[in-house]
């Protein structure tokens, strides 16, 4: 019985193709379609925070979200590029979710549930699959990573190994 289908949406080409395929399945199975966008949010483990505090390094009150590095990371120079705020990330999420939702409605999906969540994408998606009792999880094989020749991104790879259900990767 397929009642709940989820798609991991991140704005990449592959994820839009995943949305299209997920819509077909949602219509054929009469299932609810969950469009899940995860805003990358760096969460540090308790152990890490304890270590920092023991070293006299207090964490910032507002953890940084996504930082776009203009060049190689290990240059030893202090970071000087733009910092993306949560506000911007939420606006970006909207720009991605809205077309996906429109696609779903156009294709006749009866029940569409958009979700914008925060955290480590793989972790959040895996938890969502369990909590929302997702029967089929669709994901693009690669996202917005700039690694050339990447055929299967880290998030999709983790979903394949750990998801509590069936995973469908879309090239």
């Amino acid at each position: 019985m397929v009642e709940n289908i989820a798609v991991a949406v991140d704005g990449s080409e592959a994820s839009y193709r995943a949305v299209e395929l997920a819509c077909e399945f949602a219509v054929k199975f009469g299932a609810k379609l969950h469009l899940v966008y995860v805003i990358k949010h760096l969460r540090l483990s308790e152990a890490f925070l304890e270590f920092a505090q023991a070293e006299g390094i207090g964490p910032r009150q507002e953890p940084l979200s996504l930082i776009r590095h203009p060049g190689p990371i290990h240059t030893g120079r202090p970071y000087q590029g733009p910092v993306v705020s949560y506000e911007m990330m939420e606006k970006i999420a909207e720009k991605v979710i809205v077309p996906a939702r429109r696609t779903a409605e156009k294709r006749g999906v009866k029940a569409v549930r958009p979700e914008v969540l925060r955290g480590d994408p793989a972790e959040v998606l895996l938890n969502y699959v369990k909590a929302a009792r997702i029967d089929l999880l669709f994901a693009g094989r690669r996202g917005l990573s700039q690694i050339a020749g990447l055929v299967l991104g880290s998030v999709s790879a983790k979903l394949l190994s750990h998801a509590d259900g069936t995973v469908i990767t879309v090239p």
């Binding site: 077909e24 094989r141 998801a163 879309v170």
Partner: protein
């Protein structure tokens, strides 16, 4: 538009479950289901091959295929029989499982490949079998990995 679905079989319960899922999808989409089992290629020792020839016995590959058909494919065919799938084809191949499945899927222009997350002989610590993992990397069509 899904018209042809390939499901990879290896004799495991995982594959049987994958076939059930594939059959459900095939039924909903009115698609043809292709059951594909690949006997991993093993070099047959020269001596064995020669003695088989001397005894006028079928080549080891053919014998293996017949046994495989009976033990791996037929149980799955029975399992999916009552699910209302329009057309079911089955094939047994020899070679590298990933390569053969990929080539077969390309040849028939399959719209989707379905496989179990783990397979036969997988120690319980392994989360994702190597065939399953690779299919998600080297194929050009969506891959369904059934837990």
């Amino acid at each position: 538009m899904m018209t042809r679905i390939v499901v990879a079989l290896d004799g495991s319960d995982h594959a049987l479950r994958a076939a059930d899922v594939a059959a459900d999808i095939a039924q909903k989409f009115d698609a043809q289901l292709h059951l594909v089992h690949v006997i991993p290629e093993q070099k047959i020792p020269y001596v064995l091959r020669k003695s088989a020839e001397a005894e006028h016995v079928e080549s080891p590959e053919v014998l293996k295929r017949d046994i495989a058909r009976e033990t791996v494919v037929e149980p799955v065919e029975s399992s999916v029989a009552g699910k209302g799938v329009a057309g079911i084809e089955s094939v047994v191949l020899n070679g590298d499982p990933v390569e053969e499945i990929k080539n077969y899927a390309e040849r028939i222009e399959a719209d989707m490949i379905v496989a179990g997350r783990r397979g036969l002989g997988q120690i319980s610590g392994i989360l994702l079998g190597s065939v399953s993992a690779k299919l998600n990397q080297v194929t050009d069509c969506p891959v369904v990995t059934v837990k």
